[in-house]
């Protein structure tokens, strides 16, 4: 009984909660492994990383982007070009993808984060269109254009990403790392700041914060994680095509964030898994599966305003119980 209490109080601390979350997510994907098979589970996890990156911008800061495929694509093409021209070391290549994502965030951020609402959504889409054109036409000599290109990575001792279990383990590690970092960010004063910006940006300025800088930082975090997901996908598939940067696929991540519940990290992961499940399995039974996705979204909008995870939390009110205060 006593150790029980100790365990409980450990999980109430910040570090304890993060540890518990990571254990739950890790166990969840390991449980999905026999159901989905290793390829799909890896796919699912990569998509979840992408949703997490998108969600920090949309769910937490309230900025909806219609062009997040650009940042995924940046990572995808950066890792491709790096392995083609610089080094086939997979870890360095992933690092290159991440840096490219951060760089595009740094460059485009000052233009994009000035805007809000529809303007923000569309300016992202506009940049995505430009990126799509660059990859498909302008630089097709380097990117392989419409056909895309194969990517090769060298083996690093036991780290052979061509082997599925290695890729699975590595992706799971990456997902947990992303989750941990975002958890850290969102439970810090910075997390409160971006939630406050979502609600009333003017008020935040009058608390002495230069909101522009923090919006920019959030944007960079988001593009970096998206590019990370892009780089992981290429590592997984070994092949890049323009579909990784295709603006028309931007809805996928938006749907996933909405279904799971924006504004929470768990929600993003649940949304990612559900979206991928619908698009993977429904598609093999019904050719026009998108209709059912639309219906699912309608149900979400009317019945589960805060997404599936938000609904669960509301119903249970267990995980968010106010902690006891020592006065």
């Amino acid at each position: 009984m006593k150790t029980d209490n100790k365990m409980m109080s450990l999980f109430k601390t910040d570090a304890g909660r993060s540890f518990l979350d990571i254990a739950v997510i890790g166990a969840g994907f390991l449980a999905l492994l026999p159901i989905l098979g290793i390829n799909r589970t890896t796919d699912f996890m990569i998509f979840c990383v992408f949703v997490l990156g998108f969600n920090i911008l949309y769910g937490f800061m309230g900025r909806l982007s219609f062009g997040h495929m650009l940042y995924l694509g940046t990572g995808a093409y950066a890792i491709t070009l790096f392995s083609e021209h610089v080094s086939q070391n997979p870890l360095l290549a992933i690092l290159a993808g991440i840096c490219a994502g951060a760089l595009i965030g740094v460059i485009l951020g000052p233009i994009i984060v000035r805007t809000t609402g529809a303007c923000f959504a569309l300016i992202n889409l506009a940049f995505d269109q430009v990126g799509y054109f660059l990859v498909l036409v302008a630089f097709s000599k380097y990117t392989g254009g419409e056909d895309g290109m194969s990517v090769y990575f060298s083996k690093m001792g036991f780290l052979d990403f061509g082997q599925k279990p290695v890729m699975f383990g590595f992706t799971l590690l990456c997902l947990l790392l992303t989750y941990y970092l975002l958890k850290k960010f969102t439970s810090s004063p910075y997390g409160i700041l971006i939630k406050s910006i979502k609600e009333n940006e003017t008020r935040v300025k009058f608390l002495g914060y230069n909101t522009f800088n923090y919006k920019w930082i959030t944007f960079i975090i988001s593009t970096t994680i998206a590019a990370f997901a892009g780089a992981l996908s290429i590592l997984n598939y070994g092949y890049v095509t323009p579909s990784f940067i295709d603006p028309s696929r931007a809805v996928e991540v938006i749907f996933a964030a909405l279904i799971g519940g924006s504004g929470s990290l768990y929600g993003a992961i649940i949304g990612g898994v559900i979206y991928m499940a619908i698009s993977n399995y429904l598609a093999s039974y019904i050719s026009r599966w998108e209709m059912f996705l639309g219906i699912a979204l309608l149900i979400c909008v009317f019945r589960f305003r805060s997404g599936i995870w938000g609904f669960v939390v509301d119903k249970l009110k267990i995980l968010d119980q106010p902690k006891e205060r020592i006065s």
């Binding site: 300025k205 009058f206 608390l207 205060r325």
Partner: protein
């Protein structure tokens, strides 16, 4: 020349919204430690004047000085760090956050120095030290028992107190209160008024109000605005007897005699 630098000063501050001159050549000075009330009918430009002082809008013409320093083009967040703190007419707290989280940003901003940059991103927002400081701020307002509920569930009066607590936690040198009594019940007005009276010795403050009776005991000087212009200023008793002010407030009436 006076030796004492005015805490805040405007020279010919004017703002023109596409032809509508909301604030018209206002010259305003305020000594440190003073308590000033700004009154005037609806649409007189009181709030816009506040927006100029705090940097939400920048004047079309004229200059604003803070301790003699020209702050006309300084953005709002920097003015806050200098000590110009405001509240809003429509109470503005973060409804989607728990009550205590409303105070974390301002508390962190004031206590945070350069080394704590990393802390801002990585530390737990609710660590003990921080929570204790936030709770102290709430205690001053008498709402510390509501620290953990969602802000949306607070009554309007409590939200007002919370906003005041946030403003005070920013260590103001000058506090600008925009209609702090609007929408409050009589009892809440008494409470808020008492809180203001308690803290007003610590810094200068300017308070906007419609109802003169609410602030007459709190302020030493009244400024009356009408159609964007500052039409009268001085001690309350003097200002309220000013014929122009009486005309603006009560219209032209012969029968009224000055009784203040």
């Amino acid at each position: 020349m006076t030796q004492e630098q005015p805490i805040i000063e405007t020279k010919g501050a004017t703002i023109n919204f596409n032809g509508l001159v909301a604030v018209d050549s206002v010259n305003f000075t305020m000594k440190e430690g003073e308590a000033i009330g700004v009154i005037g009918p609806n649409g007189a430009g009181k709030t816009t004047f506040f927006n100029l002082l705090t940097g939400l809008f920048f004047p079309t013409r004229g200059k604003i000085f803070f301790f003699g320093r020209d702050i006309t083009a300084v953005p709002p967040h920097k003015r806050v760090m200098m000590g110009i703190v405001r509240t809003f007419q429509l109470v503005s707290v973060f409804d989607t956050l728990p009550v205590i989280d409303n105070l974390i940003l301002s508390t962190h901003r004031i206590s945070g120095n350069q080394e704590s940059r990393g802390k801002f991103f990585f530390s737990d927002a609710h660590h003990h030290q921080m929570e204790a400081r936030c709770l102290d701020a709430l205690k001053l307002m008498g709402i510390e028992n509501k620290a953990d509920i969602m802000t949306a569930e607070l009554s309007y009066g409590d939200k007002r107190k919370l906003e005041l607590a946030v403003a005070l936690s920013l260590n103001p040198k000058i506090l600008l209160l925009d209609e702090p009594f609007a929408g409050l019940s009589d009892m809440e007005i008494c409470e808020v008024s008492r809180i203001i009276a308690e803290v007003k010795k610590k810094f200068s403050f300017v308070i906007i109000e419609h109802k003169i009776s609410h602030i007459i005991d709190l302020v030493e000087r009244l400024c009356v605005m009408h159609e964007g212009k500052l039409i009268a200023e001085g001690p309350p008793s003097e200002v309220l007897c000013d014929p122009l002010v009486r005309e603006v407030y009560w219209g032209k009436e012969e029968g009224l005699t000055c009784s203040v």
